[in-house]
Amino acid sequence: MAWRDGIKAFDAAIDAGMVWISSHGNEAFALLRGLLEGGFGAILWLLAELPFWALAGMVGALGWRLLGARFGAFATASLALCAALGLWTETIETLALVLSATTMAVLIGGGIGVFAGLSPRLAQVLDPVLDLIQTLPPYLYLLPAIAFLGYGPATAILATFIVAVPPTVKLTALGISRTPVEFLELGAASGASGWQVFAKIRLPFALASIMAGVNQSLMMAFGMVVIAGIVGSGGLGQTIYASVRTLDIARSVDAAIAIVVLTIVLDRLSQTAARPQGQQKEIRT
């Protein structure tokens, strides 16, 4: 039948296209893969150098400082639980995956967001793209990533980055574009340059919104790294995937518990930074 031939031709065209892209862009993909794995490797190395109790203690101390003693104790206990479950290596792998993808999302997405906040036309072009990224099932982003970057953490990080980047772009753009007009007037009337207005007025006002975006990106990244277990990301996601395949339900529940407590700890820590200026500790000079 004609339409079957049509679909066959379509599939053939896609295959040919993929072959063409991977043969011509091979070096670029190798470079991208090297960069992603290099960043991931560096963060993982840092985390792996520390014994689990040192990292748990540091996160606990940070939590104590930002949110009080109770949360500090909770954070330390959470990380200790991950270690007690025998999943410490997987936990820090997951942490390294999330941190590298989120760092990329914040740097790239924050940069794009700033320009989108300053240019309504760019924002108009970006909005439907970001909406589309958020509408499609995140699982889908593993397909192009694995086609170009192969099995391993690089694919996981790229797919996680795609899923994590929209909130940072959107909320950065929103924060930057919503500077109260009287403050822009203050900047202009004080003789401030464009850069000064950005750094001294727009950015401080946008900070709470940007941090809310970072927090959301972090949460999206946590969701995605579990899914990315399927492409050999390593970490807790892969543990869950492997345990489910062998019907080792108990182990997959252990890994799920580790994911949940890790997510809660990082969510609370990054949310603190997203609080409006007025609620934070007073700045002293």
Binding site: A189, G191, A192, K200, T285
Partner: protein, 354 residues
């Protein structure tokens, strides 16, 4: 009145601001056949924000622009530091045409010559009072210790040096507006633009700030353009007052001139409720010495600048119910109980003669 031209800080000549998509066509029509506001709206669908504004502000003068909302007063004040570009006309600050300035010169002008205080105050919430007051200096690149020293000095002038390390949200509305004023004077500009700074404050604090502002501006020798919708405020603060309506300055003059000789019915309606007690002075009330029947030499004497309030006290104390007005030894005229009553009603000697 002839004045040394070097004393003129702001010189506006026939300034227009037209808003709308066809503003250029509208301006062409204004230029070629002198189209008015109504024609511009009808033919070009453009709104005239400011029309035919011509005025000069001298060094040390406080110039109040009074108008209701939509009268164009906020647009006009923003034309003076080019936050809004004029459509037509020339604005000179210290003899330099600001429309021809490049961005660098304009920034320098705003940083050093013209301070601005906003109705919304616009204190940056995450900065301390001191860092807010130092904002203008920070933008100019003044070193931290130096700008803090200057800003602290400016805060001391508005009585807030104890609050330097607090955040703006800890301050009342009146105190916040004082910080706004300190921020404006910290850069030591010759001109301060005040865009309805006290409108949001309660009446008591407002009057207090009005007096403080006038005192401070005079003691520093600054010129100020003060926007307000409140005629009482304009009279309290301004050396001269301009009344704006629909983008036009319909009258410019001292408070006494405006109250005694309103240019039209609109101004007359505004000044109707204004108390004359401190506004009307003896020199505009007095009768010529010859018009007084009794012996002028026996009357108590006072200066021509004495206001109605002071004259009432003098006339009540005098058995003749009259007081002589003299400048030094020269007798200028006589104020009687009758002329005082007319003065409170808002008539002066010229009108009585009619």
């Amino acid at each position: 009145m002839t004045q040394d031209p070097s004393e003129i800080l702001i010189d506006c000549r026939d300034v227009w601001k037209v808003f709308g998509e066809r503003a250029e066509d509208a301006i062409a029509a204004i230029r070629t056949h002198g189209a008015g506001k109504r024609e511009v709206l009808r033919d070009f669908n453009c709104v005239v924000g400011v029309a035919e504004a011509s005025f000069q502000i001298r060094k040390g003068e406080i110039f109040c622009i009074m108008g209701l909302s939509g009268s164009g007063k906020s647009t006009l004040v923003r034309l003076l530091n080019r936050l809004i570009e004029p459509s037509l006309g020339e604005i000179s600050i210290r003899g330099r045409n600001i429309s021809q300035m490049n961005r660098k010169d304009l920034r320098a002008l705003r940083a050093h010559e013209i301070g601005m205080v906003f109705q919304s105050v616009a204190l940056i919430p995450g900065r301390t009072v001191l860092d807010n007051a130092a904002f203008g200096l920070e933008v100019q690149g003044v070193a931290r210790a130096e700008r803090h020293r200057i800003a602290l000095d400016a805060l001391a002038r508005v009585g807030l040096s104890d609050w330097a390390n607090h955040l703006p949200k800890h301050l009342s509305g009146g105190m916040q507006q004082r910080v706004g004023l300190a921020r404006a004077i910290a850069s030591d500009p010759g001109i301060i633009l005040m865009d309805e700074p006290f409108s949001a404050l309660d009446p008591l604090i407002r009057r207090q700030l009005q007096d403080e502002f006038r005192q401070l501006t005079k003691s520093l020798g600054k010129s100020a353009v003060f926007i307000t919708h409140d005629l009482d405020e304009a009279i309290r603060i301004g050396d001269r007052i301009a009344i704006m309506k629909d983008g036009m300055m319909i009258q410019i003059g001292t408070a006494e001139e405006i109250v005694l000789h309103p240019a039209d019915a609109y101004v007359a309606e505004f000044v109707a409720g204004i108390s004359r007690l401190h506004l009307v002075k003896a020199h505009s009330l007095m009768l010529p010495p010859g018009a007084y029947a009794g012996p002028v030499e026996k009357l108590a004497r006072t200066a021509p600048e004495a206001d109605v309030q002071a004259l009432i006290d003098l006339v009540l104390a005098a058995p003749e119910q009259a007081v002589a007005i003299a400048e030094g030894e020269t007798l200028l005229g006589v104020v009687t109980a009758r002329t005082l009553l007319q003065g409170i009603r808002g008539e002066d000697a010229d009108q009585k003669a009619q």
